[in-house]
Symmetry: C2
Subunit: 612 residues, 2 copies
Amino acid sequence: MDDRTALWNDLAAQIAVDSIRATTAANSGHPTSSMSCAHLLAVLFADHLRTDVKDPKAPANDRFVLSKGHAAPALYAALKAIGALDDEQLLSLRSFGSPVEGHPAPLEAMPSVDVATGSLGQGLAIGVGLAMGMRMDGAPGTAWVVLGDSEMAEGSVWEAMEAASFHGVANLVAILDLNRLGQRGPTMHGWDADVFVRRAEAFGWNAIALDGHDVTAIDAAYRQARTSGRPTMIVARTQKGHGVSFLADEGGWHGKPVPKDREDEAIRELGGVRDIRITPPSPEGFTPPEPADPRGEEAPAYADAIATRKAFGEALAWLVGERADVVVLDGEVGNSTYTEDAQKVAPDRFVQLYIAEQCMTGVASGLQAYRKVPFAATFGAFWTRAYDQIRMGAISRANLRLCGSHAGVSIGEDGPSQMAVEDLAAFRAINGTTVLYPADGNCTVALTRAMADLDGISYLRTTREATPPLYAADEAFPVGGSKRVADGDDVTLIGAGVTLHQCLEARDALATDGITARVLDCYSVKPIDAQAVRDALDETGAIVVAEDHRVEGGLGDAVLDALAATGALGGRVRKLGVREIPGSGTAAELRRWAGIDAEAIATAARDVVRAG
Amino acid sequence: MDDRTALWNDLAAQIAVDSIRATTAANSGHPTSSMSCAHLLAVLFADHLRTDVKDPKAPANDRFVLSKGHAAPALYAALKAIGALDDEQLLSLRSFGSPVEGHPAPLEAMPSVDVATGSLGQGLAIGVGLAMGMRMDGAPGTAWVVLGDSEMAEGSVWEAMEAASFHGVANLVAILDLNRLGQRGPTMHGWDADVFVRRAEAFGWNAIALDGHDVTAIDAAYRQARTSGRPTMIVARTQKGHGVSFLADEGGWHGKPVPKDREDEAIRELGGVRDIRITPPSPEGFTPPEPADPRGEEAPAYADAIATRKAFGEALAWLVGERADVVVLDGEVGNSTYTEDAQKVAPDRFVQLYIAEQCMTGVASGLQAYRKVPFAATFGAFWTRAYDQIRMGAISRANLRLCGSHAGVSIGEDGPSQMAVEDLAAFRAINGTTVLYPADGNCTVALTRAMADLDGISYLRTTREATPPLYAADEAFPVGGSKRVADGDDVTLIGAGVTLHQCLEARDALATDGITARVLDCYSVKPIDAQAVRDALDETGAIVVAEDHRVEGGLGDAVLDALAATGALGGRVRKLGVREIPGSGTAAELRRWAGIDAEAIATAARDVVRAG
């Protein structure tokens, strides 16, 4: 055994020991799932993960994603070994206020972690995004992703497998920790590494099977992986709880710390507590390219009717010409969302991910963790497919710009499967989101521009059909604002997107009854303009809010919340929205059916005025 | 060419012609994607799909799922050929009020359709569920699923591939319509059928590649598929728009009808309008087994503290003993959700789907379409992974019983990736859902029992930690009801699940200030007990509502909506909920951090009372 082999084995034992120490101190967590990947991490962090420990975000660095996030103790132990954490921090695992959380999260005090993991099956797509970002910049780095065997049942993993090989993402290495035991018993394929080798190869990957506790084999595989010219999956047969006789390959230990009274015994079997410090290999010298100069063109401006989805596409096409960091992702609907306009301007910063919304979201999270400003678009309805990835994106503190087209029943004939009627509720409920819903072309351009600089997850909801212009091209649309598009004393009509136009039409109908209506454009659904909503109730005494979205969780609930939050409950509020499953029909038929068209709004407004 | 071959080809031409006629009449829809699978459907409906046209739900029947739902015109044309639709209905495609929707939906007037499709990648898991349901009953049927090539990028397809082979679902045939052209251009793999053969084989399937317009080859493959003893994928190379020179394999025709002025030309190329009527093969004689007698045991009852997740598991274990139609699905967390209790009672009606929530939901939709009453459980946070399948389940009018455990920040140390804090918002926004959130063991038992008989999608939210008993075992908990668990005059505290207990504690603290509080248990979050909420505001003048869930879209918004809906806005409402991303910590620390613990509730209550 040469010196390096001895070091790797010692370091692996230290990672196992520290995983036990941290979880026993926390009295919860996953020591055995950490121990199965201890050798894989030891060799990686000691000799392959090229990173500047003092500057974990340096553009030349490799990046590491622990997709099996519950093995966080192993990662923290590896970070301790490279000097990114100290022992006291390690032992604060899972304590309130500690950045050493139960699953990794990219907190300010945890700069070596790029994204949150813990919802299984999400890390590989993020790795694809990191690797693509590096490649776009010509950076020398590799993205390394450690996966668990249970998460291979998640389809999201196979979306990422497909995307990586299709796009030839050679600077990506997946390390599959095949420890045979899931949360409640054996996995489907146990130690049958060949199953995964065959699948990986069928998905266009290079694949290597090995003993995941054989450091020499691991080292050789890592070397081969980096030079194979293809994405590589290393399928490593391992033991959960490896190195401790009463834990190794034993059932019943998932997610359980070693009891305090057996901790010494376990640590003794691993050779005791060590304090090995290592320095990972240095990244190659690399300076990111100078960003291309902005083309300096005028942003699109509209004097005529246009679909907001088309205005989004044109605004994005303009934006990619102005900003070299913007990347555009499509889920094979670029001719519907109009991201194809941006593809024409910057094909090298356009990524076609086909119909794989989970992968698209993961790739976006990876790209934004590597210096990029990703925009991704699909039908609003199909963002529901990636809701867990969006949820995790928020926990990743990721800056994602998402656009959902074809909102609401107004899409017409295609029917309910294509209609986004839950998207506002879903996005509103995610932490730190901005939810935007423009009603005309110029507003769409302004909001698309604003999204490029927004933190967190921003969501732009666009409409299939053309809507007439309401605003001048130089109008400002601050996030959290609203627009009073018509004045009136007796009632306020609140709409956004397509229903704003319905409100304006309703206002005309009301005028013939001698009722004057204020009309408010809540283009910023979250944050909502609470002051404007409260003023509307104070000054007009009644509100009708109409949205092309389920009645739960969307604009109507945002309005009620604004009233509750500002203590202004003291008027009459009525919500209109979709309350049943839509069928097929024209947009007008379906709006009527749903009770959100001009006639229904006018009827509701008469009703609340008379009740006042 | 023998007679049968001629018939199949003629029938295929009729399906193509009728697809053109219907979409041209509708002036929208997908004729070319219908034409690519015309021969595949012709041979299937004429000679392989054993079904009683007059009784499409007969237990002996085969079942058919059109996963590529946009090819609905081809399905409707096939249904016309077997006499399940007439020509007038066919030509009502996409009209308002017609059951012949843009994508298939299982409406009352469309009994041959079992589930809604149109969000790609979902049909195969549903087919797995149908096939499993048949197998559980010993029925002779086969589930046939037609897939498009673009949807093979969706990970959900690969989850179903894995589940089908792992569970040896031999009565399942997937027919992949490899027409090379997606919505916006070529697919990833074009006509490379071998790619999909290799992948299918690597996932444990039998696979056959063929020319999808060669009816003899199709017939032979269908025969082989049924006797292979394994799930079989038929990879059929086809042409989009086959049979019409200006459509066949041409780009730019996705989702576009043939213009009126070219309709005749297209139909002429296909040999003109036909009116072939066929009778599909009859199903084998089969009588479903008599359901096993109920065991006649007493439902669980609790006098001590118990976690509602455990009470759910015990109630479900009892239920599977009483009802032979109940099937339980697990996403490899059965020892956390306690579905493992049911597995012990009825292992033959327990399906382990591993960590594949999308597949689990699809299988549940398939099972309920075949005489079963499925319950499925995972962590509440991970239902976000299947949100699109749940959305489509509602459009399928599916009766799904879903349980989400580990709700809210109260799970403690595992951190935000494992915490369900958006689930109430997500489920509330889905059409026709029932959202339930019990606070003690006996309420959990009652609600679990109720779910078995509920239509639509019902969601039960359970808590990780034990909560003390509040109710007697014989207490009734009607859906849409609430419980006044304490009386008081000055304010009403509304909670559900874990926060109800916090409200009770807050009430004690308020009493020392001379403030008396009513406490309301809104165990039925949707529908909410609007009358009780309004009475609370009327009678006590102020409400504090606390939930262990994001402040958007959950219980608080349900309460505001109840007030708005009943016209009772005239008091002061304050909402408490999670407003930031939680970190790790104990349950108590995190409730305090989120401002939803007893102290925070008491503080808010003092505040609103003083403001009154």
